[in-house]
Symmetry: C2
Subunit: 341 residues, 2 copies
DNA sequence: TTGTATGCGTTATCAG
DNA sequence: CTGATAACGCATACAA
């Protein structure tokens, strides 16, 4: 009893029920118990019943650690994200979890707080745990990550960005192209002076790059820019707006995350700035909140959940030994036009 | 090389580098390598250097699965939440991860989708993995959960609610009392007809219960109520508001989550309903968005992150063998008054 | 400070 | 369909 130290001690000293104990109770060998658990169809119904009865009676809980060591399969997938607090990533994790759960795979979670060295340390730790697969965020990694993963021959899926030669597999989209599309969309609607609010991370930087390139190409001037450390706090985005206003009044603003866009929208409400009349706002990711605020936010939809599910399916396929049809899947993105632009 | 099937096969057939290999290369025994990894201060500087050189040269990655089996310590904590998509829970997970990371513990994540049987299955799976600790959401569990956990003598912390006799430890607050406080707060400000929008889960139900009890005791009539399956989608909250309006116009509404409160606020903007002039809105959890919307939301702050951190500290203490000072910690809650009421 | 012997609980292999 | 035996790779206990 965990709540009761003396009792607990007694139990801890009692050796826990093992497979052989079940085997003895059922009058079979321990390998038969193993099969009852892992491939029940290989046993006769009678034996199976005996074993299951013994398992229930002894309340046997198989030690999966021992199983992992023996079989060299941990039935564990690790996912590494910058932070779980940014809902774009929790959506991806949710999708991944949903894809894996029916197959009995468990999820190990690691957060880098947007620091590459942290990612490298996590990868090392997860490889030590002999995870069966790895899901990474982004395509830029600390040196050593790529080679460690490849040496371990662990299947990996990179997400949330695109490139030609992934470590192993990739399910993502082009952030640069998405940024370009945002600029083109705004330019097409006649907005000439543009601004950008986003995070400091690699992917946000790429969206900015695409946005800026297209703005220049389209004849708009320089893009007023504010970069935030946290990347998803709406209040900070509101403050960033003031900083941008300090050096001029853009006609439209693109935010690299809907939470930031929402923060900008709320700040406009406080400042009595009409949206989209005086300032058009465009978000990114198409989170639930984008469709809920007033006016509803135009956004770029990126299928965060789908990315997680696809990553899961790619890993499962690889683990089953099926060669994947495509190692790089570009899930694309789509402009969702609403009232804010 | 994961990207290259033939090579991969070759590597898979090559036996991976083990501790003995490092030991041989360094001219020591394997236990010395083990100590270099786990208790380096017990080795002479010279030996330590030799071993580390060998580790680097051979690119040795310790097999933590084998270590877990031998030491009966997995350095793994499992956390089970209804869903990671609800940011109140991702905050708690974040706090937990932050508390554990410096101590080398990894996090296993399980989602129940608000289903108790799912929780029971996850607990079973995690106990099989011999996690060193378990963090559960809420105090209501499927039958068998309590006894399984106690039999395994695995430290466990329940969160997000309160009760006298936890399975083992608890870091939470009283949802019933929080609901009462919300009602009292609104009644004190003269709002007489009250409404509630929340989820269908146990904790939301308790907030409603407290809210309703206090409303009755305070002389307000029946509480118009809408229960949502998803518990955190702002658009659904907006629709729920219409349903409530169908049977009358409350003067104030309490939402069991700030995301829902925000959705109600946005719907009011669309319907041109003044907040708080015509309808006062009160949220729950004090998420970042509460302080960002216009008008800013009055909310009940519950320290979601702190709950996770405390849960982590309680587990770490227990794992170090320190008897906890308190098995039940009530983290309380606080009304954060803003412009929406 | 370092080493030896042994066990952790399961699954793979091969045999029957 | 069932079983005997040998790994799996590391840590603990004890010894030197």
């Amino acid at each position: 009893m965990a709540a009761d130290p003396p009792t607990r001690k007694r139990i801890a000293e009692t050796r826990s029920v093992r497979m052989v104990d079940v085997a003895r109770a059922a009058g079979v060998s321990s390998i038969t118990v193993s099969r009852a658990l892992n491939s029940p169809d290989k046993l006769s119904p009678a034996t199976l019943r005996k074993v299951r009865t013994a398992i229930d009676r002894l309340r046997y809980v198989p030690n999966l650690t021992a199983g992992s060591l023996a079989s060299n399969r941990s039935h564990t997938i690790a996912v590494i994200v910058p932070t779980i607090s940014n809902s774009i990533f929790s959506e991806t994790i949710d999708g991944l979890a949903r894809a894996l759960a029916p197959h009995g795979y468990q999820l190990l979670l690691g957060q880098t707080q947007y620091r590459l060295e942290e990612e490298a340390a996590l990868v090392q730790a997860f490889l030590g745990r002999r995870v069966d697969g790895l899901v990474l965020t982004g395509v830029r990694h600390a040196r050593g990550v790529r080679s460690s993963v490849m040496r371990a021959a662990t299947p990996v899926v990179e997400t949330w960005d695109l490139r030609d030669r992934p470590i192993n597999m990739l399910a993502g989209f082009s952030n640069v192209a998405a940024g370009r599309t945002a600029a083109r969309y705004l330019l097409d609607r006649g907005y000439r002076s543009l601004a950008f609010i986003g995070g400091e991370d690699d992917r946000s930087a790429k969206r900015l790059q695409g946005f800026r390139d297209q703005a220049l190409a389209g004849g708009a001037g320089a893009v007023a820019t504010a970069l935030l450390p946290s990347a998803s706090n709406p209040a900070e985005a509101g403050q960033a707006l003031s900083r941008i206003f300090a050096s001029g009044r853009p006609r439209a603003i693109f935010c690299s995350n809907d939470m930031l866009a929402a923060g900008v929208l709320f700040e406009c409400a406080r400042l009595r700035i009409g949206v989209p009349g005086e300032l058009a706002i465009m978000g990114f990711a198409d989170l639930p909140i984008a469709a809920s605020v007033e006016p509803r936010l135009t956004s770029i939809q990126v299928r965060a959940t789908g990315m997680g599910m696809l990553a899961g399916q790619m890993l499962l396929g690889e683990l089953r030994g099926e060669p994947p049809r495509e190692r790089v899947v570009d899930l694309g993105y789509a402009v969702v036009e609403r009232a804010s632009t």
